[in-house]
């Protein structure tokens, strides 16, 4: 979060690393601490989604037919497209991290931009799906009016669907914001072999978003 204005451009074409906080002894330790902190935060995100997965499995146990019927009414092509979008954006983020680690800031910038674009594509497809649900009446709780789900428990499936994908979409938006901010810093050539932690950490967050979707996709769309 240091301003790039105060840092000088080095001969290799990237800015020198930001000043080390006074309580750390080496930049390497500082980066390791940042990485560790991000992994701890990812652990909290895993447990945040844990609750909704528990809800999914509980209500699937109570209303298996409704879950099966509702899954058949979700668009598998769209869901698969979303999965591939997120997997590819994970690849570009990982490549961006590799490039930043080697000081190739402009490459990293374009790769991050690609990831953000794919994230936007994901959200676009989700918007299409949500609109479709709205028109069908396949909505959660008291708004449910979808006649094609004949088994009891339809409203409950859609509560789980909307809450889990909604919470996930929120995280996609946060991830896109993080990636955009880091991309701007790449444009300013801030990263080098000694300092690349923000790219790595934003990438880790984006990978987590991908991980959650890897589980949501088969559970909601396929089984």
């Amino acid at each position: 979060m240091q301003s790039s204005a105060a840092r000088k451009m080095t001969a290799e074409g990237w800015l020198e690393p930001p000043p080390l906080p006074h309580h750390y002894d080496t930049l390497e330790n500082h980066q390791g601490a940042l990485r560790f902190g991000m992994w701890l935060f990812l652990g909290t995100e895993v447990l945040l989604f844990a609750g909704i997965f528990v809800g999914y499995f509980t209500f699937r146990h109570y209303f298996p037919e409704a879950f099966e019927q509702s899954a058949r009414h979700l668009s598998v092509p769209l869901g698969t497209a979303n999965t591939l979008l997120l997997l590819t954006s994970s690849l570009t983020v990982a490549l961006a991290h590799y490039n930043a680690e080697h000081g190739k800031n402009r490459n990293a910038f374009w790769l991050l931009l690609a990831s953000v674009t794919m994230g936007a594509g994901f959200l676009g497809i989700k918007a299409v799906e949500y609109t479709e649900k709205f028109h069908e009446g396949a909505l959660p709780g008291k708004f449910f009016s979808f006649n094609e789900i004949t088994a009891p428990g339809g409203p409950v499936f859609y509560v789980v669907y909307f809450f889990s994908t909604g919470l996930h979409a929120l995280h996609v938006i946060v991830g896109m914001s993080l990636l955009t901010w880091v991309a701007i810093r790449c444009w300013r050539k801030e990263f080098s072999p000694t300092y690349y932690a923000p790219v790595e950490n934003a990438g880790l967050y984006w990978h987590l978003v991908d991980l959650v979707w890897i589980f949501l996709y088969p559970l909601l769309y396929l089984v």
């Binding site: 006074h22 902190g37 701890l40 609750g51 528990v54 008291k142």
Partner: protein, 553 residues
């Protein structure tokens, strides 16, 4: 207030107050509000926590005054429901969870590790503002027609109540973030910023306790976050996740809620146990008995505490299989607590004890933890819990731990570390008097509640049958004594901030690492990276320091 009293004439000249320290390093409001110094952040947390303690205490007094008579006394039923919700939420989320870890932990963790600050100082400051924001939202919701569901928000009442519950839930969600950030910060600090010589088994036991607490905060709080979101969404949009009429499962709410809230009680008690370990060595002037066992048992409590949440659901319709499993595991936590209790008693044995206010509080802690803990094991027995669930027996049990153990630990920490944090001593006579009042008042308040609960008086009830009146009056009388004790403490500590006798670097003669730095400490904590040559809590085998040790009066 009279002029500070000097020590005995065989001691050298009174200690000098350091010229530059963290309190006068920048005196503008801006330097406090935008500080990165973990000590200032710790002090701000403490001030907020103490205000929350008094606020929660006021709500408690309103409740106890209402319960003076069997019928309506001073408030009506809906207000009574709001009062116990307010009392629970304010006490738990605004005081108990942050007070010792975010207050004293923030202040002392880096110093005890030989570090100059926590791992992420800016996130530390952010966590304090997030705490303030969440607390404000929660309080605002509670004041503007707030919740009457109890702090446990059980569905389906919480999802259908007409009271203004959404800001309360969102406030709790935001405070949860603050808790997660603090825990995250502490874990990274302990792993990466220890000074040379401070290996894992050379860390003070307070650090071990805060470490275990931070692990719980990081793992458990997100589930509470999700649960509050689910309840708010259902309340606002009628989703039906927890509503049986729409196919939802109210017991699912209880599972998700207590998955956090049971480990939460260990978030509250573990730091107090850490304080206990620190203070008990200082007052007994002895090495801790069984350092490794106490350190490991802190982690053990944190771990096993996650497996026990179903004991809150014994009478809710949970399956018998789950009930049996949870009952057995809940009792296991008692093993780790017992290890600590025996080790603390072993520390006191053949110690050179000075009866000071911190010692009075750790005695109270020891007794009340044992009795509160034993009633906890009794409550974990499913067949007994069927009789006691939702009665005052449960209320007395958790107040024995929350007040009898945790708040005693908090007060012990406050008195033990007051000289270090502010450079001045408090008046010991007043300290002992207040401690006596608090211990007496505590017993008078909560022992009758055990009897009430066993006799069948339900909790959260606004009216009760006449036969319970005498015990209720006794409990209220005790509560008044307790309140009086707290007020006295607040007064003499506030006065001592300015007029207390200058403490010097180590008025207790303690061997804790934090007593090596001046009182109050400088902003940087250490001029150079410290090298600790002794173990934590090491009183024997190390030669006595040259400086004269003086007790606080």
């Amino acid at each position: 207030m009279t002029a500070p009293i000097t020590t005995t004439d065989t001691a050298p000249a009174g200690p000098a107050f350091p010229k530059k320290h963290y309190l006068n390093d920048g005196t503008t409001i801006r330097s406090w509000l935008l500080t990165h110094d973990h000590k200032r952040i710790g002090v701000m947390y403490l001030i907020s926590a103490i205000i929350a303690l008094f606020l929660g205490g006021i709500f408690a007094m309103v409740l106890r005054l209402e319960l003076l008579t069997p019928g309506p006394t001073i408030i009506e039923a809906l207000t009574y429901n709001r009062m116990f919700t307010l009392h629970g939420l304010v006490m738990i989320f605004m005081f108990m969870i942050p007070a010792i870890p975010s207050g004293f932990g923030n202040f002392f963790l880096p110093i005890m590790l030989g570090a100059k600050d926590v791992a992420f100082p800016k996130w530390n400051l952010a966590s304090y503002y997030i705490y303030l924001a969440g607390s404000s939202l929660m309080l605002w919701g509670l004041i503007t027609g707030g919740a009457d569901t109890g702090w446990t928000f059980y569905a389906p009442y919480s999802t259908t109540t007409t009271t203004n519950i959404t800001p309360v839930l969102l406030g709790v969600f935001i405070i949860g973030f603050s808790s997660i950030l603090t825990g995250l910060n502490f874990i990274v600090t302990i792993h990466t910023l220890r000074a040379p010589g401070v290996t894992w088994f050379k860390m003070p036991l307070f650090v071990w306790a805060v470490y275990a607490t931070s692990i719980i905060q990081v793992l458990a709080t997100p589930v509470l976050g999700l649960t509050t979101l689910l309840v708010s969404a259902e309340h606002a949009f009628g989703f039906g996740f927890f509503d049986p009429a729409r196919g939802g499962d109210p017991i699912l709410f209880q599972h998700l809620f207590w998955f956090y809230s049971h480990p939460a009680v260990y978030i509250m008690v573990l730091p107090a146990m850490g304080v206990q370990s620190e203070v008990i060595c200082a007052v007994a002037r002895k090495n801790i008995f069984g350092y490794k066992m106490i350190a490991m048992s802190s982690l053990g409590i944190a771990f096993v505490g996650f497996f026990a949440w179903g004991h809150h659901l014994f009478t809710s319709g949970q399956s018998a299989f789950d009930a049996g499993a949870f009952a057995a595991i809940s009792m296991l936590v008692g093993v780790f607590t017992a290890i600590k209790v025996f080790n603390w008693v072993g520390t006191l044995y053949k110690g050179a004890i000075a009866f000071t206010a911190p010692f009075a509080y750790i005695c109270g802690f020891l007794f009340f933890l044992v009795f509160g803990g034993m009633t906890g094991v009794a409550l974990a027995t499913v067949s007994l819990d069927v009789h006691w669930q939702d009665t005052y027996f449960v209320v007395a049990h958790f107040h024995f731990i929350m007040v009898g153990a945790v708040i005693m630990g908090f007060l012990a920490a406050l008195h033990y570390w007051f000289p270090k944090m502010f450079g001045r001593k408090y008046p010991e006579n007043w300290g002992l008097l207040a401690a006596g009042l608090i211990v007496l008042g505590f017993n008078a308040t909560f022992i009758p509640q055990f009897l009430l609960g066993n006799a069948g008086m339900p909790r959260r009830y606004y009216e009760y049958p006449d036969r319970f009146a005498a015990l209720n009056v006794a409990s209220t009388a005790g509560a008044s004594l307790l309140a009086f004790g707290f007020i006295i403490i607040a007064i003499y500590l506030a006065i001592s901030l300015k007029y207390g006798e200058v403490a010097g670097r180590n008025p207790w003669g303690s061997r804790g690492y934090e007593w090596d730095v001046p009182s109050p400490p400088p902003t940087e904590n250490f001029d150079a990276v410290p090298v600790f040559t002794r173990g934590p809590h090491e009183y024997q085998d190390v030669p006595e320091e040259l400086a004269r040790v003086s007790h606080a009066i």
